[in-house]
């Protein structure tokens, strides 16, 4: 495929008995953003580490801009940028010194690196903090610096491994803006995230992986369509009006409403998007139902994940943590 920026075929990587990657296939077309989505331990980071030459796969092959990552790692490193889960900046160096160091290690002319550093600091709103050691930076600033450092060489392809994990919402949105900008300039991005909202916001194509394998792919829209359309959800004020509300919604929905008596909640699948909301309000009003809450829920990628794996991403993560705690305890006991 000539215009694929990143191609991975049958990547396998095992750690002892754990198969971190179990035959992963990926294609990122040039100039697009691919969101690699999955819970903790799904193999996202392992995939990125292989594609960025930090790790050798047990088997399978991968190319970045047509260059083999296993045979030609140095060439690949020259054209990619990587921002990892933990900001890879030196905390004792200032922001400017960090970028300068990276530029020098790309083997660029010192004078050019200096110009580039000024420009990147300006763009990532770090000019005021440029000459302070990075350890004085906030989490969001460190991530921005990290991203700036990975852009020194004007990479055609950018790997972002959970770029906003651990950031507060404001910093997250700031970073999203920066990434959207890069994409609009033509950079190809492979983004991993466990935030479904993030994939939704940034990526056109989404690949969902679990246990080292691709379990679904498509655009955000097709994935959502695959789990069904929109749903109207109401909560009634008075439990005695539940039956009337259910009857009114049954007439408007595309299939049978679901009732949750305890929560006084009725949910019904609908078609027609937001126009149906008007009908719902009218119908319920004429049936004498007073509402406490009304919402049109579009399926989120959480719903997608739930329907694919039978668990939500959060449950998956909790289970993962528990398993890790268990194996740690076991290790301690045997030691």
């Amino acid at each position: 495929m000539a215009d694929a920026a990143v191609v991975a075929e049958g990547l396998v990587k095992t750690y002892g008995e754990v198969r971190a990657l179990d035959g992963l296939d990926l294609v990122v077309p040039q100039g697009t953003v691919l969101g690699l989505l999955g819970p903790n331990g799904a193999g996202k980071t392992t995939a990125v580490r292989i594609l960025t030459t930090l790790l050798r796969p047990d088997s399978g092959k991968a190319t970045v801009a047509g260059i083999d990552v296993i045979k030609n790692p140095d060439k690949v490193r020259g054209i990619i940028g990587l921002t990892g889960q933990y900001a890879a900046v030196d905390e004792y160096l200032t922001g400017r010194e960090n970028i300068n160091m990276v530029g020098r290690l790309y083997h660029f002319e010192p004078a050019w690196v200096k110009k580039r550093a000024d420009e990147l600091l300006e763009r990532f709103r770090l000019t005021d903090a440029a000459d302070r050691p990075a350890k004085t930076y906030s989490g969001g600033m460190r991530r921005r610096l990290d991203l700036a450092a990975s852009l020194v060489a004007k990479p055609e392809i950018l790997f972002l491994d959970e770029p906003t994990t651990g950031l507060d919402p404001r910093s997250r949105i700031e970073l999203w803006e920066v990434i959207e900008n890069l994409v609009s300039e033509g950079t190809t991005v492979l983004l991993t995230t466990q935030y479904l909202e993030e994939a939704d916001q940034l990526a056109e194509d989404i690949v969902v992986i679990d246990r080292g394998q691709v379990i679904a792919k498509g655009t955000s829209e097709t994935l959502k369509d695959s789990v069904g359309g929109d749903r109207v959800e109401i909560v009634v004020k008075d439990p005695t009006t539940l039956d009337a509300a259910t009857a009114a919604l049954a007439a408007l929905g595309s299939s049978e409403p679901k009732v949750n008596i305890e929560d006084r909640r009725v949910t019904v699948p609908v078609t027609g998007g937001s126009t149906v909301l008007v009908d719902v309000v009218r119908g319920l009003d004429s049936a004498g139902v007073v509402l406490e809450d009304l919402s049109l829920r579009r399926p989120t990628l959480d719903d997608v994940f739930l329907s694919l794996t039978g668990r939500t991403a959060e449950e998956e993560e909790a289970a993962d943590k528990k398993a890790r705690a268990r194996s740690k305890k076991k290790k301690e006991a045997s030691a």
Partner: protein
């Protein structure tokens, strides 16, 4: 999004590749990483301060607590204590530069557990640069430490008696030795599970290295087996070479039979440094590659 428009477009032209430096990319990359390590030294002045205080305390302790009790051949009484101080300072120099290894062990262990190592590894730089930079920075730091020690030595009565040229040669030997042990320390650092372990493990081998030697006491007083080990200890040769180059008491009785390693102290120092580098540079680079390829 409104904030989007406030971002400046990136207008710098195509990246300008540097032509290959005269001494190659290994050295270039090593110097760039080493500069980072030296900047760290400046940004944590407390660490630098305490690394200077420790050898000064050693000087004072040995000079005045043990000094009177350790005889230097050819002098006794008050003159003996004075002679011991002159004898001691090159030993402290050698001991201090040997401890450069400990900071390399800790430094490498810390680097390996930080995100920065992923940054380095994702760059088209030479893999060895992390180690070259670390060892050269740790050795370079010793210039400052040696300067402070020299002043301390002068205060307690030590003197340079053999000309500046020889003294410069002695300092160069000390820095070379610092560089060599920094490689050994870095290699150890690569095996450390965390920086805390590195703190302890980085030190233990340095005590026998520095104490089973002529740094603090003349070899003549040691049991013969230990004497042989101490005599072939490169640190003994370094210490003796410095004493000779500075024109200080050597601790050898006139006509005392000595091992080849000490009879040719400068040569043996250079030889052992060469051999140790030939062993530990490839070992460390290989271990670094393996550790980071997980």
């Amino acid at each position: 999004m409104s904030a989007t428009t406030s971002l400046q477009p990136l207008t710098t032209g195509t990246p300008e590749k540097r032509s290959r430096p005269l001494l190659g990319w290994h050295l270039h990359d090593g110097l760039v990483v080493g500069k980072r390590n030296l900047i760290q030294t400046i940004r944590v002045p407390e660490l630098l301060f305490f690394s200077l205080v420790q050898p000064v305390i050693f000087v004072l302790m040995f000079a005045y607590v043990f000094g009177g009790a350790i005889p230097v051949p050819g002098a006794s009484g008050e003159a003996g204590a004075e002679a011991y101080r002159a004898y001691l300072i090159p030993g402290i120099f050698a001991q201090t530069v040997a401890f450069a290894a400990a900071s390399s062990t800790v430094g490498i262990a810390e680097d390996m557990h930080k995100g920065i190592i992923d940054r380095f590894r994702s760059l088209p730089m030479k893999a060895s640069a992390v180690l070259f930079g670390r060892t050269y920075a740790d050795a370079a730091r010793m210039i400052l430490v040696l300067a402070v020690l020299t002043i301390t030595g002068l205060v307690v009565g030590w003197r340079i008696n053999n000309g500046i040229a020889n003294a410069v040669l002695a300092y160069l030997l000390l820095l070379l030795f610092a560089y060599v042990v920094a490689w050994i320390g870095s290699w150890i650092g690569l095996y450390m599970p965390n920086p805390e372990t590195a703190n302890t493990a980085g030190l233990i081998w340095l005590f026998p290295l520095t104490f089973i030697s002529n740094a603090f006491v003349p070899l003549a007083g040691m049991p013969s087996g230990l004497q042989a080990i101490a005599a072939w200890n490169p640190l003994s040769a370094l210490t003796l070479a410095c004493r000779e180059l500075f024109g200080n008491p050597t601790g050898l009785a006139p006509g005392e039979e000595i091992y080849w390693s000490l009879a040719n102290a400068e040569l043996y120092t250079l030889l052992s440094c060469g051999v140790l580098l030939a062993i530990f540079v490839p070992l460390a680079v290989r271990k670094y590659r393996r550790t980071t390829a997980r």
